[in-house]
Amino acid sequence: MKHIGIRQLVGIAASVALVVIAAPLFAGSSTTQTITFSVNAINEIAVSGNPGALTVSTATPGSVPDTATDSSTTYDITTNQSGQKITAAIDSGMPAGVTLKVQLTAPAGATSAGLVTLGASAADVVTGISTLNQSGLGITYKLSATPAAGSMASDTRTVTLTITSGS
């Protein structure tokens, strides 16, 4: 019969203990995957169409000619940024004595500048726009002329509305 010495018994016990303790520490394995989401700055504005023709054709005797008004169009806006504004400009200046103005209804939390005279340089029409989406906001155009402007053939102007940073 083979005799197992004390040293061998201690060795066996230590081996078993080492396996029992250490085995759970090495159970399982892991791996990693990366998810990357990039959100771009989004500033979108669209209008419902063109206003009707603006014609200055009547006046009260003794007064300046009546202003022509159109409020038939609207605009839609979406932005995911804060502190944005809308500016407006026309592609070329108006004839002498003729003035074109625009007023935009402000979306929630923003401020309309009221009636703004349009020119070749962009002018603020709505300020303080932050993180919103809203549709059907009103646009009003007003065309006025002094008597000195005289009469003239119809003409067109392109109005550009732009969302830009800065309140």
């Binding site: 081996s15 085995a23 090495f26 892991s30 998810i35 989401f37 989004i42 500033n43 979406t78």
Partner: protein, 153 residues
Amino acid sequence: MKGRYWFTAAIALLVVRASAVDIASSGDWTQTITAADLTGGAGTDLNSQYDSPVGIATINISNVSGTWHVSARRDTGTWPAGLHLWVRRTSDGSGTGSISGGAAFVEISALDTDVFSGTETRDNVALQFRVTGMSKNVTPDTYVSSVIYTVTP
């Protein structure tokens, strides 16, 4: 020497236990949100849900005899609070054993969540990711998060 024999046997036993069940993966997901993702153009909000292509990532289970379980968790990274990340298994993969669970989307949180389980080896188990909660209120930026899969016997 007999003492050395027992010590060597113990080390060998430890090595065998240390090699049990391996998991490997391939494929990451990158998604860019633009104005094209508005539901209806200006005046509307962003689509709230985005799905990765099916099988954009795969999982391999190897060096195993018997059953295993795969769980997943997400590190916080730069992930915004309102976005939720999900994963599901879109194929059984191939191998000598079987696979079950995980065919429906499971939300991945900061805590380990069981995704699917099986037996024996399994190769090329296809995965698909989903993100929900996107809106105009998510600040423009790049958000990165790691998904950590753990396999246990």
